[in-house]
Symmetry: C2
Subunit: 76 residues, 2 copies
Amino acid sequence: MEENNLQSFVKERRKRLGLTQEELSFKAGVGLRFVRDLEQGKSSLQMNKVNQVLKLFGYELGAVPANREDLLHEEG
Amino acid sequence: MEENNLQSFVKERRKRLGLTQEELSFKAGVGLRFVRDLEQGKSSLQMNKVNQVLKLFGYELGAVPANREDLLHEEG
DNA sequence: TGACTTTATACCTTAACGGGTATAAAATGA
DNA sequence: TCATTTTATACCCGTTAAGGTATAAAGTCA
């Protein structure tokens, strides 16, 4: 539990859009397995693939102050 | 030029600490080649390795609203 | 309870990342 | 100008991410 809330962010955003993992993977242009690894908190994912997913939500990977990523839980 | 300012963020922070790429790679526990790829803007880097570097600056990877990553340029 | 949908895990192959090394280029200083 | 330091690029190899497929587990609904 390394506080990897990227996984919950993706999961929450996906559900908010009413998408299944399969639909999200198709829209993002990544494999279904990748979406599952992402939502399961795999830490060694490649940034460009993660960004393909985040882009669907209007987000992208960036450097954020450690222990402040909680701010993302506010609505965009 | 995909506005990958993660590279300039790392480069700037590294210089601010007066470190060479080699010193940074040693402190972060990653290869020198990785630090160079990172500062050159390689987009397919693995998140866990990038986080090893960002941790030295008190930062980590997180989802940020697209086109808002400029806010990171403020001092922590 | 049972069908169906969705998600999680395992196996396998291909492609490429990470990293070491060597070399070249650029920057710094005298 | 020439040394030294630092950074950038290329080559090679071991490891592993990505993704497809299959199977199992979990959730949903009647």
